[in-house]
Amino acid sequence: MMRMNKIIPDLHANNCLTIHPDVAKYHNLSTAKKWFLRFGNQALEMKLKTSSVLTEDEIKLSASIIDLLSIPINCRFEIRRENNEILLGPFIGILVGANKSYLDESVQYLSNYLYDYEHIGGAVIAFSLEGIDPLRYTIEGYLYSPETEKWEPGIFPYPASVFKIIYLNREWRNHFQTVFGHRYFNSYVFNKWEMYKWLSQNSQLNSFLPKTVIYYAPQDIENLLNEHNEIFIKPVHGSMGERIYRVKKTQGSSLQLEFQQAGEPQKSNFSSVHELGVFLKKQFKGKTFILQQSLDLITYQEKKIDFRIVMVKNQSGDWEDMCMVAKYGREGSIVTNILAGGTAEVGEITLQKVFGFSEEEAFRFRKEISRISYEAARCIEECGVHCGNLGIDIAIDTAKKVWIIEINNVNPSPLFALDINDRQLFYQIKRSNMLYAKNLAGFPEKMT
C-alpha cells in the first residue's frame, strides 16, 4: 500500500519539491542529491527539500513546475525514486478509439475502471488517435477528476503508460513503440492464423490446437475434409461468432454448409469444393479465411458449450486467471457466442453438470485448464505481443480433451463476469487493467 499525496502549489520557492522528512527517509531520498522530477514523458531538474510542517500525505510543488509539466493538481499522486529521478504518478493514458466523436460518446463509460482510484491514483486520461499531436507531444482528451468522478476535457502531455483497447495500423504502432516502448500494452492485435502459428510451435501447447490451415484454394478444403469429417471455415480476423461456416461431406460427394444468417440457422448444399470455393470467395469478399478441424464439443440439452478464460495482468505484471465462463450456444447453433444468442454459467458448475465430476475432479480439471491458459499467455508474449488482458476460448470435446480455439486480445470483454452475475469480478478485472498500467508507468507493486 502506498500513500496518495495531495499537491500543494508552492508560490514562493522556485523549482522545488518539498516532502515530509519521514517520506524522504522511506523512499531513501536525500536532499543533498541532484534530482529530476518526472511526470509522464517529461522530466525537469529541480531541488528536493523536506519540511515537517507538511503531513506525510502532502507534497509541495513550485507553481512553475506544476505549469511546465502540466500537472493536474486535483489528482492525488504517489512518488517513487528511480535512479536520479523522482517519479510523480502514475500518469496513465487509455486509448479508447480512433475518433474524437467516439471518445466523446464513450468516455463516461470508462469511470468503472477507476472505482478503486484510492489505489490506482495519479492522473488518468482517455484519448483518441485523432486527439494526438505527435509533433507537439500533446494529447487532446479527457482527464479523470477524482473529486467530481467525471471526465474533464483538456490538452495534456504524453502519459507514462498507455492501455490500448483498439486496433492500430503499423504507422501508429511504430509511433507508440517509439514513444512508449514496453510501457503500452495490448500492443498488437493478432489474428487467428498468427495465434495458430505461434502456439503450434510450442511443444507444450500444440496438442491442444485443432488442426488449422489457411485457405488458398478449394483443394485445401478437400484435404482437410479427408482428415476430419467436419471442418469450420472462419475469417482470419473476425470475432464474436461472425461469419462462421461448418462444412461436412454428405452422402455422395456433395458438401453441406451450415451457418447463421440474421440469427437464424441456414443450410446450403454444394456439389463440389470448387463450387463451395466460389461461394466462399463471395462471402469473404477477398478477405483471408482459415479452415479448422471441427471438434465434437460437449453439449448440454443440445446446446454446444465452450469456455472463456479471462486472463488479466496485475500490478506485479503477473498473469491472473480470473474466471472460467461456460458459453452455451443456442439450441442447434454452430457457434456458442453469447452475442449470438447463447447463455453463460460459471465454468466449474458446467464441468460437474456435463461430466458428472466430483468437486475434486472438477477442481483438478479446472487447474489443468488454468495451466494451459498461463502457458498460452506466456507463449503469445514470447512471440512479441505485449498483452495486459487476454480472452482465451477453450473447448472441451466429449472425450474430455481440452482445445484452445481462439485467443482474443483487442479488448477481451470483462462483461463475461457480468454474464455469470459477478459484478465484483467485473470491477476487479477493470481494476487490474489499471494497476498493470500503473506498473508500466513506473509504479509496480511494492514487495514490502
Partner: protein
C-alpha cells in the same frame, strides 16, 4: 518431466544409475555427482543403465539412505553444477505426538492435496516427536495416489528433512526453537510474534500505525490513565493469551471509571487509585493496554471480518476470501462460540452497512490492500508465511482496523458454501511451498 526412483540390486555402494534420456543431455558426462533429497546429500558414482525406462533413476540397494524414497512417488529433478536434486520434498508438521497421526486425522489432509498432480514430489505429514535430530530424518506419512484407482493413500515411512517444512500447528517456544535449530531449509508459517511485538512492529510502520489500535505495555500506574485520557476507552489484554486470563474493558467518563469483564459484569470506580487497586487484585500477569476502537454492532452482536490472505504460486499476497463473524448478542468482543454466525464478507458489507456494489468493491479493496501491507510487513521482520488470516473491524466511520493475526486459519466455513474455493484455498499454500523451496 516426472521421474521415479528405483532401488536396483547391485553389490557396490552409493551408485546412481541414469537412463539414456538423461545421460544423453549431460555434457560432460559426470563420473560423480552430489545427490540431494531435501536436506540430505551424498556423493554418488554415476553410471549409465540403458535398460532403465526413460523416466526412472536407479540407486544401488545398499546406498546408505537413512530414509525411504517410495518408488511410486513421482519426482521432479534438477541437475546443475555437479548436483542432482530430486524433489520437491515437503513436510507438513501437523501434530505434536506421533500417535495423533491416526487414519482419520490424515484423511483430513487428503483435501489439501487435491492439486497434487501439479505439485509432485514427496509430501509427508509428520509430528514434532517424529523428528530424529541426529539422523536428520522424520517419521510420518507420505501422500501417494494408488496406481490403478488414483485413490489417495498415506504411506508410513522415514523421510529426509524436507526442502520446506510447513508448520501447521501451534508450537511451544521450546518445540519451535528446536525445530528451527535443526531445519536448515525453509520453514513456513512458524509461530507468530506476541501481540506486543506485533503492536510495536505495526506502530512503527507509516502505512499501518493509523490502522492498528494503539497499544502499550501496562507497566506503571500512570499508563492506564494516560491511555484513557487519550482514547476514553481501552482494553486490557494479557500479554500471553492463555486459558483463564481475562480480558477487561475500561471506560473513563467525566472522571469516573467503569470496568467491564469478559463475563459481562460491570464495576464503577471513582479514582485512579481505586482502579489501580482493583486491577492489582484482578490482573495476575503482564497486561497490555490497548485503545478500544468504537465498534459497530449489528443486532446487538459484535462482529469482525476475517481476511484470508494467501501467497500465490507467483509469490504475491492475495486475498482468497473474506468472512464476517458475528458474536453472541450482548458480548463485549467478537469472540465466537456456539451462538456465533458466519457470513460471506461481501454479504455482510451489503447487509450491515447497506452498501451498494460499488461501495462494497471499494471497501473490500481498501481492506485487502491494508491486509497485504500487514502481511508484507510481518514477513519482512518475522519469516515466511504461506497464509495468514487477519481479523479486522470497521469502526463507526467505516475506517478499517487490524485487530489480530492468525497463522493457522481454519477454512471449514467454506466447505459447505463454496467447495471449489475451499479446495483452491487448501491447495494454494502447498503450491507456494513448492515455489519457495524448489
Amino acid at each position: 518431466m516426472i521421474y521415479y526412483f528405483k532401488e536396483l540390486s547391485e553389490n557396490r555402494k552409493n551408485l546412481l544409475f541414469l537412463p539414456l534420456s538423461i545421460w544423453e543431455n549431460m555434457n560432460p558426462k559426470p563420473q560423480w555427482l552430489t545427490l540431494q533429497a531435501g536436506e540430505w546429500m551424498a556423493r554418488v558414482e554415476v553410471e549409465l543403465r540403458e535398460d532403465l525406462p526413460e523416466n526412472t533413476v536407479g540407486v544401488s540397494t545398499i546406498a546408505e539412505f537413512p530414509f525411504n524414497l517410495p518408488e511410486q512417488i513421482p519426482f521432479e529433478m534438477k541437475i546443475q553444477e555437479g548436483k542432482l536434486r530430486i524433489g520437491p520434498i515437503m513436510g507438513i508438521l501437523a501434530f505434536h505426538e506421533t500417535h495423533e497421526m491416526t487414519a482419520e486425522a490424515l484423511e483430513k489432509y487428503t483435501r489439501y492435496l487435491a492439486g497434487y498432480s501439479s505439485i509432485n514430489g514427496l509430501i509427508y505429514i509428520c509430528s514434532a516427536k517424529g523428528i530424529n535430530h541426529s539422523l536428520k530424518t522424520i517419521e510420518g506419512y507420505c501422500f501417494n495416489l494408488e496406481e490403478k484407482t488414483s485413490k489417495p493413500v498415506w504411506m508410513f515411512g522415514k523421510f529426509p528433512f524436507p526442502d520446506v517444512l510447513y508448520c501447521h500447528l501451534e508450537q511451544s517456544e521450546d518445540e519451535y526453537n528446536q525445530t528451527l535449530s535443526v531445519m536448515r531449509g525453509k520453514i513456513l508459517n512458524a509461530n507468530l510474534s506476541s501481540k506486543w511485538l506485533l503492536s510495536k512492529l505495526f506502530q512503527s510502520s507509516i502505512h499501518l500505525r493509523g490502522h492498528w489500535p494503539y497499544t502499550e505495555l501496562l507497566n506503571n500506574d500512570h499508563k492506564l490513565d494516560d491511555m484513557l485520557n487519550k482514547f476514553g476507552s481501552v482494553y486490557l489484554k494479557p500479554l500471553v493469551a492463555e486459558k483463564g486470563k481475562l480480558l477487561f474493558k475500561v471506560d473513563k467518563k467525566e472522571g469516573s471509571y467503569r470496568i467491564h469483564d469478559y463475563f459481562g459484569d460491570e464495576k464503577s470506580l471513582n479514582s485512579t487509585m481505586e482502579v489501580n487497586d482493583y486491577l492489582k487484585g484482578a490482573l495476575h500477569d503482564t497486561y497490555l493496554v490497548q485503545q478500544a476502537v468504537p465498534v459497530v454492532k449489528y443486532e446487538e452482536r459484535c462482529f469482525n471480518f476475517k481476511v484470508h490472505m494467501q501467497k500465490t504460486s507467483r509469490s504475491h499476497w492475495k486475498c482468497a476470501y473474506i468472512t464476517a463473524h458475528f458474536g453472541e448478542t450482548g458480548g463485549i468482543s467478537a469472540n465466537f462460540n456456539r451462538t456465533g454466525i458466519v457470513l460471506n464478507g461481501r454479504d455482510a458489507l451489503r447487509q450491515v452497512f447497506q452498501m451498494d456494489e460499488r461501495e462494497v468493491f471499494k471497501k473490500e479493496q481498501e481492506i485487502i490492500e491494508l491486509c497485504c501491507t500487514a502481511c508484507k510487513t510481518l514477513e519482512h521482520s518475522k519469516g515466511s508465511y504461506a497464509e495468514l488470516s487477519i481479523d479486522i473491524i470497521l469502526d463507526e466511520n467505516l475506517s478499517v482496523w487490524l485487530m489480530d493475526i492468525n497463522h493457522h486459519p481454519d477454512h471449514q466455513s467454506l466447505f459447505y458454501s463454496d467447495r471449489q474455493l475451499y479446495l483452491n484455498v487448501l491447495a494454494t499454500p502447498l503450491e507456494y511451498a513448492k515455489l519457495s523451496a524448489w
